[in-house]
């Protein structure tokens, strides 16, 4: 039977069918749905870990314990999990282990567009890359076979377009596999120098065997074509663009991205007049071909930045004129994403902007606090960098600067990598103020539970870690909790804590307005006769507030009645429903 499935859903289906036992992940667009779908299979143990490094280590522990294991993360998540990646390349696995890493070419929802194929090369582990949902399922099974035959974790590379496109998938039954026996083997699993030296030899031998495997595996295949003027070498989503734009071209489609084959490429190149590599981001395949002395083109045509498409191939490689559409004659205003109506973060950023503070930001919905009209964020780097970055900033600029700067970080991000930064502040005589935006969920990736919410991946009650207790235990004695909808109390606590000459944490606690169970209040409305069009209510950047006929107007289909705007009106023209 065939079903229409997201790439991520098909990966989950493949894991189910392949008899996977244990899954641990941290959410990250575009990888999140794999683990969400897995949580629907009771045969597989699944969990949200606090971060990707933990998730990876859970997965390798399960594999050492004889299970087929899996973890998923976005590309930048693999930076966090890189430490165990490089050493588990040495230890190898017990049961098979797959690590999904979802790249975000074009940065639809990311802070950079790094190419995770470098990790496969650097860590010397195999990497597979599917190009549609059917392959998402099939390649899981192939990856487990590789993992167990060659005793290695296998990287499974996705992209936004493969993860978030639906196509037809043949679904089959689950292969029930027993968890393998665990055997203590210190030479393999205790990576102290004497043992690791032996395992490095193993890694190099394994790579030689994998190179042989790359020549013959059906993951790599040649598709004959009638027009031999240009032969294409490609992989992943780019394969689909090539097939669309060049249906008659011979194509070498690579499913195994590391190690890359040699003879297969030489043989393919010999059959065509000109070889072009179509790959997004970095020239991984192209450089490999060049190192073999095979003349190929790639980056000189397509560049290093963003996504490729059938259009780009047609225009840049084939020189075809662009297709003409019904082009609208004028520029239309951009529509950037915004904080939702009723978002609990809005009051915090309004206050920080009003007080003119320097704000070290972090990764989450609240990154949108950087956009107009809130404009209340100075930096966003990576998970956790708000707290440690602020500490460095105040050490550079002195204690007075600390009174004019704060860090903001979400509840999930704080559990991910905020705690260590806070320890640095208390330990190293810091005086910084950290605001934890506790909306009681992992918001940006679509509402995943985390260790502070009190629920597990199945929405079943779980131990709830107290943010207050964690902060106190890390040495912060000034921990205050405020409701960010109470602007007066919020401003007073920001003023008091930034003035204090010791570390402090403000927990701004109010659940995400989109959470189930958070009841919207009736919408508020403007009395037009009282409105003086001063635009004070516009300073909070609420998408429900617009101008109509020269007066403020509140869209009652968008407003959730949070009331933040009510207190801002100098004429009390905004009324709550009676």
């Amino acid at each position: 039977m065939k079903e229409l499935m997201l790439g991520n859903q098909a990966a989950a289906r493949g894991l189910y069918e392949a008899g996977c036992h244990v899954v641990s992940s941290y959410p990250g667009t575009p990888s999140t749905e794999i683990t969400e779908y897995i949580s629907g299979y009771p045969e597989i143990y699944s969990e949200w870990a606090p971060n990707e490094k933990v998730a990876y280590e859970v997965a390798i522990g399960a594999a050492i314990g004889g299970a087929r294991s899996f973890c998923a993360m976005k590309h930048v998540g693999l930076n966090v999990a890189a430490d165990p990646l490089f050493t588990t390349a040495y230890t190898g696995v017990g049961g098979g282990m797959i690590v999904a890493v979802a790249d975000d070419q074009g940065m639809h929802s990311s802070q950079n567009e790094q190419d995770s194929r470098h990790y496969a090369q650097a860590a010397k582990v195999p990497m597979v890359e599917p190009s549609d949902s059917q392959e998402c399922s099939d390649y899981i099974k192939a990856a487990y076979a590789i993992s167990e035959e060659f005793d290695t974790p296998v990287l499974y590379r996705l992209s936004t377009r493969v993860s978030h496109s639906q196509s037809l998938v043949e679904v089959g039954p689950r292969q029930e596999l027993p968890v393998r026996d665990y055997e203590k083997n210190a030479k393999k699993y205790v990576m102290m120098p004497a043992n690791a030296q032996g395992r490095h030899v193993f890694v190099e031998e394994r790579t030689l065997k994998l190179r042989q495997f790359a020549e013959t595996t059906p993951l790599n295949r040649v598709e004959e074509g009638s027009d031999r003027r240009i032969g294409i070498i490609t992989a992943g989503i780019c394969y689909q663009y090539v097939r669309e734009a060049m249906p008659d071209a011979p194509v070498l489609k690579l499913g195994l991205l590391n190690p890359l084959p040699e003879q297969l490429i030489r043989d393919f190149a010999a059959t065509v007049d000109r070889v072009v590599v179509v790959e997004e981001l970095d020239p991984i395949i192209e450089n490999h071909c060049a190192s073999l002395g095979i003349p190929v083109e790639g980056k000189s045509i397509f560049g290093y930045i963003g996504e490729i498409s059938q259009k780009i191939i047609r225009e840049k490689l084939l020189g075809q004129p662009p297709l003409e559409g019904c082009a609208y004659p004028e520029a239309v205003p951009v529509r950037p994403p915004v904080l939702c109506p009723g978002c609990p973060h809005r009051g915090v950023f309004y206050t920080l902007h009003k007080l003119g503070l320097t704000v070290f930001g972090d990764i989450g919905c609240y990154t949108l606090g950087a956009t107009p009209p809130l404009l209340a964020m100075d930096t966003t780097l990576c998970m956790g960098a708000s707290i440690s970055g602020l500490h460095g900033f105040t050490k550079a600029r002195g204690p007075e600067a600390a009174k004019k700067a704060v860090a903001v970080i979400g509840d999930s991000t704080f559990m991910h990598s905020g705690m260590t930064g806070l320890a640095d502040i208390t330990y190293n005589h810091g005086v910084s103020t950290v605001i934890i935006l506790d909306n009681s969920i992992t918001g940006m990736t679509g509402h995943q539970q985390n260790p502070t919410t009190g629920y597990d991946i199945h929405n079943q009650p779980a131990y709830q870690i107290s943010l207050e207790a964690v902060c106190r235990a890390l040495g912060v004695s000034r921990v205050v909790v405020v409701d960010p909808a109470d602007l007066k109390a919020l401003e007073a606590s920001v003023r008091a804590e930034t003035a204090a000459e010791e570390p402090s944490v403000i927990i701004a606690r109010r659940p995400c307005a989109l959470l189930k169970g958070v009841k919207a209040k009736p919408p508020v409305h403007v009395e037009p006769q009282q409105c003086i069009a001063c635009r004070k209510c516009f300073q909070i950047g609420c998408p429900a507030i617009t101008m109509e006929g020269g007066k403020a107007h509140i869209d009652d289909t968008l407003c959730v009645g949070c009331g933040l705007c009510v207190g801002l009106c100098p004429k009390s023209a905004i009324k709550e429903a009676e």
């Binding site: 639809h108 097939r243 205003p333 529509r335």
Partner: protein
């Protein structure tokens, strides 16, 4: 060239493009086509401009639609119809609701919401159906049913039996909302030739 057909669904995050693409995907799969549906999750859902691609045919390769490739542009919002109109083929069909949702730069006063959107869209799109889909949606029982009203209108222009559409809807909406959505679908069909 391929015989792949392309339908592009555009709107503002939260307007319900997911149900529209899900229903279309199910409909086309049931009809025996190869289908790809592509969407972007994450940042763009937060009230931003949202695009979903639906492609079908004997064999669909690329999941994305590029400028000048769409046979149909189905839009939930006027400004979004204008933004993405370049993706519509010269002889493609534009179906858009007349709803207007102010983007943040308009709210902050940095720019104006475009005037004459309807007139200009009719000028550039030879087959334009610019309709008030909100009123029929509310008549059916929910302002959220705009997506299904527009699907009803689209169904009059695609060569698939009405029952196939209703079956797809049945498979995609929660049972308690089926009656309301079937009504919205019917009211959408009645918008054709109005």
């Amino acid at each position: 060239m391929t015989n792949t057909k392309s339908i592009m669904i555009v709107g503002v995050g939260g307007q319900g493009s997911l149900l529209a693409s899900k229903t279309l995907g199910r409909l086309l799969m049931n009809a025996g086509y190869d289908v790809k549906v592509s969407e972007v999750h994450g940042m763009s859902q937060r009230g931003g401009s949202v695009v979903t691609y639906v492609r079908y045919g004997q064999r669909v390769c690329s999941p994305v639609i590029q400028t000048g490739e769409a046979d149909v542009l189905l839009s939930f919002e006027l400004c979004e119809a204008a933004r993405w109109s370049g993706y519509l083929k010269k002889d493609g069909v534009l179906i858009t609701s007349t709803q207007q949702i102010m983007p943040m730069p308009v709210i902050t006063g940095a720019t104006q919401y475009p005037a004459d959107l309807e007139k200009n869209l009719r000028a550039v799109c030879s087959h334009a159906y610019i309709v008030d889909a909100l009123t029929p949606a509310e008549k059916a029982g929910s302002s959220k049913a705009v997506n299904v009203v527009l699907l009803g209108l689209l169904s009059k222009m695609m060569d698939l039996p009405e029952d196939a559409w209703k079956e797809a809807l049945k498979q995609c909406v929660k049972p308690q909302f089926l009656e309301m959505n079937l009504k919205a679908f019917q009211l959408g069909r009645e918008l054709y030739n109005v």
